[in-house]
């Protein structure tokens, strides 16, 4: 543990309104399951000292179906998501993704909102949200806005979220067609993704990849190629122009490129 934890302060509001007011009045870092933040404190890479604990906010929890949307509170844990009948019925690949995050202990604490806000290109649920064309409901004390997930990220670990805003919920419009998900981790369990892919087989196929670019990536041109009747090999060629993977500690550019192509082929053949 590298950070001075006894210096940290925590505000622990009970209502969303109270939380948003606090967030308006002073710079606070929201903290939910702490599975990213406390790792950052452990390694001394996170400098923040003042936190807003959002785990007591009922408004951020729960899963419901509203009209043609699956609505998931930002503070909902992976455990709740993977066991939810609604999720299994409408977005089974979100349940799959959740069940492949960390181990039970992380699933019990980690939240969907945390995965989104943490903005790691390797976040496992993010390609699912990308192919779902998910909508993020963001709120501040003054305003509420709906931001399409696919325009939420602006660069590596950069988002449009303002410091006074919280992600309140994540909405996934329902979709017809076969859903597909594949995580390629550094080992069989409790692993960070080298590559993660989500896809939906509709007339206009939807395809997204994680860990191949600074942000989770929706492969619009590859989708268009496939929808327009291109051969899978041509589509893979397009895919290669859309992704910009790098060599890092967990894998290499060459591997990620090759596997991205293979997974696309596998998805298309499934």
């Amino acid at each position: 543990m590298k950070s001075a934890l006894s210096q940290l302060s925590f505000a622990r509001p009970r209502t969303l309104e109270e939380a948003l007011t606090l967030l308006r009045d002073e710079p606070l870092v929201p903290i939910a399951g702490a599975t990213d933040l406390y790792v950052g404190l452990n390694f001394g890479t996170l400098k923040a000292q003042r936190f807003l604990d959002i785990t007591r906010l009922e408004e951020l929890r729960g899963i419901s179906v509203t009209g043609d949307r699956l609505v998931i509170g930002a503070g909902t844990t992976y455990t709740t998501i993977m066991h939810s009948a609604s999720v299994r019925a409408h977005w089974p690949i979100l349940a799959d993704a959740a069940s492949q995050v960390g181990g039970v202990q992380i699933q019990n604490r980690g939240t969907l909102g945390g995965n989104v806000a943490n903005a790691s290109p390797a976040g496992d649920t993010l390609p699912v949200l990308a192919v779902a064309d998910a909508i993020l409901q963001l709120r501040s004390a003054q305003s509420q806005r709906a931001v399409p997930f696919n325009s939420f990220y602006t660069g590596y670990r950069q988002t449009v979220l303002r410091p006074d805003e919280l992600i309140v919920s994540i909405e996934l419009p329902m979709v017809e067609g076969k859903q597909w998900f594949r995580k390629v981790g550094t080992r069989a369990a409790q692993a960070i993704s080298k590559l993660v892919m989500a896809a939906v087989r509709t007339e206009a196929p939807r395809i997204a990849l994680g860990s191949v670019a600074p942000t989770p990536l929706r492969l619009r041109r590859t989708e268009a190629a496939l929808a327009g009747g291109s051969s899978i090999e041509d589509a893979i060629g397009v895919l290669q122009t859309e992704i910009t993977p790098i060599d890092d500690l967990r894998s290499s550019e060459a591997y990620r490129r090759a596997v991205a192509g293979n997974l696309l082929r596998r998805f298309w053949a499934s």
Binding site: L5, F10, R12, F51, V104, Q105, R109
Partner: protein, 145 residues
């Protein structure tokens, strides 16, 4: 701050940002919960918080306010602990408290596959896990008999 610790309502003075792990070990004298990494990977620090398994190295003490915390010292699953001993499910033993905590949440009819999935967040470097599976299966068989 007040919490329920191994069944007893307890008041503990500690800074809110400290890790639940440190508060248990240093303020409450409960050193059965171990630290293997501090990054949520090894599971040696696993405890139950409101009935759910969590890694206590990633829980700010503030969030334990009002919670019900159960540690290895209060797990009370003696059959399981006995079988960890008799099946040599503990070698060096540093992972064992966390393993026992996780195993204590398994249902009686858990299959080997269920056990493997449940334990994926608990690393053991000594046993190759096989003896741990045996310990859990025997304990489960014994309690359901």
């Amino acid at each position: 701050m007040r919490l329920t610790l191994n069944g007893a309502v307890t008041d503990v003075e500690a800074a809110p940002g400290r890790r639940l792990l440190d508060v248990l070990r240093e303020e409450c004298g409960l050193t059965g919960t171990k630290e293997g990494c501090g990054e949520g990977e090894c599971g040696a620090c696993t405890v139950l918080m409101n009935g759910q398994l969590v890694v206590s190295c990633l829980v700010p003490f503030a969030q334990a306010e009002g919670a019900e915390i159960r540690t290895i010292e209060g797990v009370g699953d003696h059959a399981l602990q006995q079988h960890f001993m008799s099946e040599a499910g503990a070698q060096c033993g540093i992972c064992t408290p966390g393993m026992v905590m996780t195993a204590s949440t398994l249902s009686r009819d858990a299959t080997l596959e269920d056990i493997r999935i449940a334990l994926a967040g608990n690393l053991c470097r000594c046993t190759g896990y096989e003896a741990i599976y045996r310990a859990i299966q025997r304990a489960r068989a014994a309690t359901s008999a």
